[in-house]
């Protein structure tokens, strides 16, 4: 699950738990409040009834009627007493004397009634307020008033003036009774709140652990650098197209560790990372993957080239002072100015990796930069893009003529596969841009099938031409690939003799016997085998001894040297030509790009030539129409 989703989910859970707990609290509080309000409303109705009953019996002034008249007083007390049910602690009436002191007028307490006129301090200023305003009031009582929960103070009015206050004290016992009435719900809510609280604690603990673990996973234990997890997390939240990327490798770092020890190596790494920050600034992030470092920084006006140069010079050319030792290191680096389109982290990292590999293969201690204009490198370095292109059969074979050198007469064509850009059909994509990506996958087989199909179709359509097509040495060991080729050869026996397989290799042949057998099967129906790029890489003289081949194609890099009028290159090419003559092989010179080279090839007596000077790769009909 993506970290941002986890963050949101945890946040959602925390908020949900808190909201649910608050909701439960509010529900129970509201329920209790509702019961209380109902009780107060009932008490108010009682107060109104009591006042009406008193008014019925008192014709003039209440106090004057009651004072000294024990019979009336008793009768009125009995009215109050009638309402003194278990929910009330006290019901009584007070009046104010001339000095402003409250004194009892009536008391509903049957057993121990207060004497008329005895002083009473109500301990609340609200009594005075009710007296002066003539409006009922509710008083919440606390611990200082024993056994009373709420007091309702109701004004007894005579001719628009408050003459007395009727007080109904709701008992605390009754409040407890009401609460008990509500208690099953409260108990359930309390249990749920306890559960929610525990769940919240648990969630907080889990969250804390989650972030701790994430911190451990995202932070390199050795240095201040981050890990690859952080990199993925960072670009889940940030736009990758706004950053420059650098992939840096300390050359021969293992040697430092061997020579000075691991602790020393660790310190060197720490200094190295600090220097990254110094060069790239505070906004730069450095990710350590072993001895490789991925740094990314928001794009600046300085540009990727200047920044790369500065980084390379500072990181790799200035010494490091570790334990009083001046350490000089060299670095290999690749950098990319992320294009606006088609940029994903895996693609960027793959391209950086490939570029770094190129740097290393060129002898390390240098750097390569892909500017923003190298968008194609990213765009086509995408397996999904290639898969779609092959599914839609957006593959085109161009044919480059191979000529008889002396006469420039076309004797053969080399089939060169190109993919067609999805959005721009005039834009052709060379296999160099994606071949490494698809090699060994089903897409590679699929592409080979399309090429073979095109080649055999062309052979059958144009019965007088010969075609050569490239075949990787590794493909010879791939059963699926060989099965595919054999099927085509069997199905097109009549055209097979006009086909040449140009064997290119990236790995050295170790099993010549096996390769020899495969060559034999390729030649079974008359096809020829050519060794491509002879004179470079692994294409060496052992081939001539161990394999049954028909044609040698001299490596283009040797031919290119002829342009500089390089005598030694000339001699090497000549020696290959002579050797081929001895073995009776046909010889083809590639990369014949201009007249000067062509003249030398002609002068050397090389039988066949191929290159832009003699013909560009084009659709076959353009040559044959």
């Amino acid at each position: 699950m993506r970290e941002s989703i986890v963050d949101k989910f945890i946040g959602f859970l925390l908020i949900s738990l808190i909201v649910f707990a608050i909701f439960l609290q509010i529900t129970t509080t509201e329920n209790t409040k509702k019961l209380k309000n109902e009780e107060i409303l009932k008490t108010e109705q009682y107060a109104q009834k009591i006042v009406r009953l008193i008014e019925l019996r008192v014709s003039s002034n209440l106090e004057k009627t009651v004072k000294g008249n024990d019979f009336v007083q008793k009768e009125l007390n009995e009215i109050l007493e009638a309402f003194l049910t278990k929910q009330y602690s006290y019901i009584f009436m007070l009046s104010k004397d001339a000095k402003g002191h409250y004194r009892f007028v009536l008391d509903g307490d049957k057993e121990n009634p207060e004497e008329y006129g005895s002083v009473f301090f109500p301990k609340s200023k609200l009594f005075d307020k009710v007296y002066s305003e003539g409006k009922m009031s509710i008083i919440e009582q606390h611990d200082d008033v024993e056994g009373v929960w709420v007091s309702l103070v109701y004004p007894y009015m005579e001719e628009g003036k408050t003459e007395a206050l009727l007080v109904l004290d709701l008992s605390r016992e009754y409040a407890t009774y009401l609460n008990n009435f509500n208690s099953p719900l409260v108990t359930v809510v309390r249990i749920m709140q306890v559960f929610l609280f525990l769940a919240l604690l648990f969630l907080i603990m889990i969250t804390y652990r989650y972030y701790q673990t994430r911190k451990i996973l995202t932070k390199d234990s050795l240095s201040t650098a981050y890990t690859k997890y952080y990199l993925a997390d960072f670009f889940n939240k940030n736009d990758i197209a706004q950053y420059y990327f650098f992939l840096v490798d300390i050359d021969e770092f293992k040697e430092f560790n061997k020579k000075y020890g691991n602790d020393f190596g660790n310190k060197l790494i720490q200094s190295f990372i600090s220097r990254f920050q110094e060069v790239l600034g505070g906004k730069a992030k450095v990710v350590r993957v072993g001895t490789e470092f991925i740094a990314f920084v928001p794009k600046t006006e300085a540009g990727i080239h200047d920044l790369s140069e500065k980084l390379f010079q500072t990181m790799g050319k200035k010494y490091y002072l570790i334990e009083d030792e001046k350490i000089h290191i060299s670095i290999s680096m690749s950098a990319i100015d992320t294009p606006e389109e088609s940029s994903t982290l895996p693609k960027i990292l793959r391209v950086l990796d490939e570029e770094l590999l190129k740097v290393k293969s060129q002898g390390k201690n240098t750097f390569r930069v892909l500017g923003a204009d190298n968008g194609d490198a990213l765009k086509y370095n995408d397996i999904d893009y290639i898969r779609l292109a092959l599914e839609e059969e957006r593959l085109l074979c161009l044919y480059q003529p191979i000529c008889e050198t002396q006469s420039k007469e076309i004797v053969k064509y080399e089939a060169l596969a190109r993919l067609v850009d999805k959005n721009d059909s005039s834009k052709l994509i060379s296999p160099f841009q994606f071949m490494q990506l698809i090699k060994g996958t089903s897409q590679y087989i699929k592409m080979s099938k399309l090429v073979l199909s095109d080649v055999f179709y062309t052979l059958s359509k144009y019965p007088k031409i010969e075609i050569s097509m490239n075949l990787d040495l590794d493909d010879l060991f791939n059963k699926d690939m060989m099965k595919l080729i054999n099927n085509y050869l069997v199905d097109n026996k009549e055209n097979a003799a006009r086909l040449t397989f140009e064997i290119i290799e990236e790995n050295e042949i170790t099993d010549y016997e096996r390769v020899s057998e495969i060559f034999h099967s390729l030649k079974k129906y008359g096809s020829k085998v050519a060794i491509d790029d002879f004179g470079s890489g692994y294409a060496n003289y052992q081939y001539l001894i161990a394999l049954d081949i028909d044609i040698l194609k001299i490596d283009g890099s040797l031919i290119r040297e002829l342009k500089n009028d390089d005598k030694r290159a000339y001699l090497v090419v000549e020696s290959i030509k002579n050797l081929a003559d001895i073995f009776n092989y046909e010889v083809v010179a590639e990369f014949v790009s201009d007249k000067f080279i062509y003249e030398q090839i002609k002068d050397l007596g090389i039988g066949y030539s191929q290159g832009y000077y003699l013909g560009e790769p084009r659709p076959i009909n353009e040559y044959l129409s």
Partner: protein, 146 residues
């Protein structure tokens, strides 16, 4: 577990202690307002009050009404005798009952409970007779008649 048990045992005792302490404080405040003395000698026949006042450094429980600054009367049992035997003019009678306050003119004030509310009451004429001037904060509890 032992700690929890101890806490459970201590809490009620502590609450009781706080209650007792606040009672003593209230009475000291009251009696100081009446007698103007810092350490007040009190005579009372009520054991509970005696025990409570004993805990205070500023209240001294005496065993003879003659030696008291304030006599606190909690019931009418033997009250006549107590009032008559007390010869000192400096002694002030205080009660915890409105009924006794009303009944015995020698008593200057009372602190009692009525309808769940604590009540403090002083009778103006009785205070004046004994030349007692209460602080301003007590004036609202002074009534002219009962």
């Amino acid at each position: 577990m032992i700690k929890i048990f101890l806490i459970i045992c201590i809490i009620p005792w502590q609450l009781w202690a706080w209650d007792k302490e606040s009672t003593v404080k209230i009475y000291h405040h009251l009696f100081h307002a009446i007698s103007k003395k810092e350490v007040i000698k009190i005579y009372t026949r009520d054991k509970e009050y005696r025990d409570a006042f004993d805990t205070s450094k500023r209240m001294q429980v005496v065993h003879s009404p003659d030696k008291a600054d304030v006599i606190l009367i909690c019931s009418d049992k033997g009250i006549e005798k107590l009032m008559n035997t007390s010869k000192s003019n400096d002694v002030n009678f205080f009660t915890t009952s409105y009924k006794l306050l009303k009944q015995y003119p020698k008593i200057i004030g009372a602190f009692y409970w009525k309808k769940g509310r604590s009540q403090l009451l002083f009778v103006k004429g009785r205070l004046e007779k004994r030349n007692i001037r209460l602080p301003q904060e007590y004036q609202k509890f002074v009534v002219e008649s009962l």
